[in-house]
Amino acid sequence: MSLIDLLFRKNKPSSASTAKERLQIIISHERTRQSQPDLINQMQAEILSVIAKYLDIPSDKIQDQVKVDVERRGEHSVLELNITLPDSCT
């Protein structure tokens, strides 16, 4: 670093620390997403079996009528459950 740089050193964070912060966020996000598929599938299967117990939905259609999703919104993860009830129930 030259003398001029030392005298007029800007007080902003270095680009390396910005890089580290960005990586910390994206890597932890991607790690949780990678470990989730199993969890979501299991939860979906269990929710399906509960619904099948109470509602008369043909087993080949149940996959289309019950949807489980996990979405990340800012700081939170949102579990979304969408059940389309068959006409006979309403």
């Binding site: 030259s2 680009s15 580290k20 994206i26 890597i27 991607e30």
Partner: protein, 275 residues
């Protein structure tokens, strides 16, 4: 007991092939019978880096498809008699390799070698999966740069879930971090992720740091793995990494800048400005 080592990274151009050649050479220099296998089917380059491109007759795909015997495809290094290269083919057929065929080749290699180094292609496609599937240890090559670090993390996830060891629920692959193209000057200036940053992010043990070095391009230009250039910083750094790989404690070198005199600090050198 033979060990299978995958050299991988996810991202391309970070130094997988350079490192495979350098580490293979280092292990052979230490007296181990070593073979470096190029898994980059379609884009083979290990032969060029190792300087045996004109001696390729048969390749990995020929052996897997039983069109050639293993010993016909193995190329013996001109400089070291216990170092061999198994080249990749130039075929564009993506399905040229299959797991069963690769397993057979690796099992056969295990009977006559101490170390089998698998040089992975970039990406997370089939070729990269084949290269890491049978690994006992993994060397993850990472540049101090955001996309490389992120891709390395993806690869670590794959090593932990998609390898043979993971599928058979055996002891997991031993992972090692190899940071390449490191510039201590730029780190001190705050322009490059530091070693500590990368270790923090990836959380695997550090095998070595290879400094950004002119010796690497010189080595690939002439087809002589940089480990042979023992005067060079990169060559020495690879040898240190080999010692650590073999279980020895060796302090990290080339990770700090030399302290400069007052005059040098006042007048930045031209070389530094361009680096």
């Amino acid at each position: 007991m033979a060990e299978v080592i995958v050299v991988t990274s996810g991202k391309g151009g970070v130094g997988k092939t350079t490192s495979s050649a350098a580490l293979g050479t280092g292990l052979a220099l230490k007296g181990y019978r070593t073979v470096v296998v190029d898994f980059d089917v379609g884009l083979r380059n290990l032969d060029l880096i190792m300087g045996c491109e004109r001696r390729v007759v048969y390749d990995l795909v020929n052996v897997v498809k039983e069109e050639a015997l293993l010993h016909q495809a193995l190329i013996k290094d001109k400089r070291l008699e216990n170092l061999f290269v198994l080249p990749a083919s130039q075929t564009r057929d993506k399905d040229a390799l299959d797991l069963a065929g690769v397993e057979k080749v690796i099992e056969e290699l295990k009977t006559s070698f101490d170390y089998i180094i698998c040089d992975s292609p970039a990406g997370i496609e089939k070729g990269a999966m084949m290269a890491l599937y049978f690994a006992d240890r993994a060397i993850v090559v990472t540049n101090p740069e955001v996309s490389s670090v992120r891709d390395s993390d993806r690869i670590l996830g794959i090593l932990a879930s998609k390898s043979k060891r993971a599928e058979e629920k055996r002891e997991p692959i031993r992972e090692h971090l190899l940071v390449t193209r490191y510039s201590a000057t730029r780190v001190e200036r705050g322009d490059m992720l530091s070693l500590e940053d990368i270790e923090d992010l990836l959380a695997i043990p550090l095998l070595g740091v290879i400094p950004e070095s002119q010796a690497v391009l010189r080595a690939s230009n002439s087809g002589i793995p940089v480990t042979f250039d023992q005067e060079s910083d990169a060559g020495q750094a690879y040898l240190d990494a080999i010692d650590r790989f073999l279980g020895h404690k060796v302090p990290m070198r080339f990770i700090t800048t030399k302290k400069k005199g007052l005059l040098q600090r006042l007048f930045k050198s031209k070389a530094e400005e361009t680096s």
